[in-house]
């Protein structure tokens, strides 16, 4: 097959996939700026001067809880991400750097965590959180999300740590750098691209998660934004303006975080370390 043709096919696939991925988001954002009649009358039309309306946003922002839902989502997502990176990084370092008796068994145990979905343990988690008096707290969510993110984080970070030249750690040891400082001041800075990757992988499912907020939080003060939006969906009447506006707003933080981290997804940071 001639090169240009195969490239065209590849691009056609990519464009098609991008369209499938982006279209629903575009539809949500577009309709969030339209009046209720226009949402139902012509759902695929972009807002024009007749149909443009900010009523959804006005309602959402007036609502007492939306601010705290956003705050909850941010607290849970960012804390879980930070702790997943911290513990994941340290565990990955320990598993790759120190050959102990249980290293292989431990690595295997953790990789099982990648294969088994954490939701299978929902009931056990719920009982556990109740017993620990943590139900209906953000801490419960954070703990669950750390457990959910750790196996993958350890897996990815281990791969990256193995690529850091051995000599670098040996040099630091000869230099008298304590082991913890070797990790935080020599290894971790070199892991920045990997950390950004893991951060993005960790954040998106947490931010979007409906399941655990639904079973672990009951009061409106501990709802996350994804769960909070459900309030606008009624059994008989659904306030589509508010739902679409809240969802559009909910997209913003993830996009911002993604943009911040994608800047770190630059490889070649280790250039100059060896050779």
């Amino acid at each position: 097959m001639p090169k240009p043709l195969s490239r065209a096919i590849v691009h056609a696939f990519l464009i098609a996939y991008s369209f499938v991925a982006v279209a629903p988001i575009l539809l949500v954002v577009m309709n969030s700026f339209k009046a209720r009649n226009a949402i139902f009358g012509a759902p695929l039309a972009p807002p024009d001067s007749q149909t443009f309306s900010l009523i959804g946003y006005a309602k959402v922002l007036r609502s007492a809880h939306v601010g705290s839902w956003f705050a909850n989502s941010l607290i849970v997502t960012l804390s879980a991400m930070a702790l997943t990176l911290l513990f994941g990084g340290m565990a990955a370092w320990a598993l790759t750097e120190y050959r102990l008796r249980w290293t292989n068994a431990l690595a295997l145990y953790l990789s099982i965590g990648i294969m088994v979905p954490i939701r299978l343990g929902s009931i056990a988690i719920l009982t556990m959180m109740r017993a620990a008096h943590l139900n209906d707290t953000l801490i419960a969510l954070i703990l669950v999300y750390i457990a959910q993110g750790l196996p993958m984080a350890i897996f990815i970070l281990s791969e990256f740590i193995q690529q850091i030249p051995r000599d670098l750690r040996d040099a630091a040891r000869c230099d008298g750098v304590p082991e913890t400082r070797i990790f935080f001041e020599v290894i971790a800075p070199l892991l920045r691209p990997a950390i950004a990757t893991v951060a993005v992988f960790t954040i998106v499912p947490i931010w979007n998660d409906l399941w655990f907020p639904l079973i672990l939080t009951s009061s409106e003060t501990t709802h996350t934004i994804t769960l909070g939006v459900q309030q606008f969906l009624g059994q008989y009447i659904t306030d589509w303006n508010s739902v679409l506006a809240a969802l559009s707003l909910a997209i913003v933080p993830v996009v911002v975080i993604y943009v911040i981290f994608s800047r770190q997804l630059i490889s070649g940071l280790t250039a100059g370390a060896v050779k």
């Binding site: 000599d167 040996d170 040099a171 040891r173 000869c174 070199l190 370390a273």
Partner: protein, 362 residues
Amino acid sequence: MATLRIAGLEKAFGAAKILKGIDLDIENGEFVVLVGPSGCGKSTLLRLIAGLDGATHGEIFIGSRRVNDLEPAARKIAMVFQSYALYPHMDVRRNMTFGLKFSGMAKAETDRRVAEAARMLRLEALLDRRPRDLSGGQRQRVAIGRAIVREPEVFLFDEPLSNLDAALRVSTRVEIAKLHRLLGATMVYVTHDQTEAMTLADRIVVMNQGEIAQVGRPLDLYYTPANLFVAGFIGSPAMNFFEGAVKGRTDSAVSLSGAALADFELPARGFPGEAGASITVGVRPEHLRIGSDSGFRFEATVELVERLGEVSYAHARARDGRAVVAELRGRDVPDIGDVVTLGAADQDLHVFDGEGRRVELE
């Protein structure tokens, strides 16, 4: 600065024995080069001295301290790696001071040491640069500087010049030699390059298969190799070897014969081998002469002549098919296909017994 003593050192990875009992005494201020083919255990030995790996058996003393159970930094060593191993996210100054800050050193002292090392290695203008903005030679100088500022008792070099291009290798080699004179420090240097070993070392330790084959001053190793391995390893092009047997012996001489050789006699008092014992005769390419009428001589067909200017190397094939290299001086070199008689004087021959050990002839 300190002496370094290694006693009965062994290292095994699982069933594989990498080091099989190393004993070595290194004087204060001595420059010792560990040399050997890859896989001989020289780098492993260096890593054990550094404390990066633990020994299976044996002891290591730096000065009077037994350091087996000490961390690398506590052993007061500094190591320079083949890959430089600079911290890529730190500038040159921080690369040199990073380790010092954990020893609680005062800032004034740190600054003094960095300034001194930078002056010695001509790094003053580079102190604020990152490793990625430096050339290979500059990076290696920074790596050496990082070792110097620690003011270690023993410097360890792990093939520090292998990643440099040929010209830079020569100049950096000279710098390391100067540095050794200037600092007067004990240095252990691992290389597979025998030119580096010969030019830098006070003493060379030749290693083979986890054991020390010979320890000695460079010229001693060259002129009186203790065994076949050292004889073949030191010197380039390598020594030519001829297997043979003892034909007969008297009190003052031994007569030898070999497949490729004319029978000949060597003056030797108390030659250990009985008649029939197998021996190997070695002769360096530089000692072979065309048209020699000495006792040790053989015929060979010239297959290739490499002309380097002051010398030429004639690659020839002896009667029994073995390849032989002769170093020839001057312009008068044989043509390809010529059959020549090559020989060497008695005092230039190295004789090894059936176990490959050197036999002293006089």
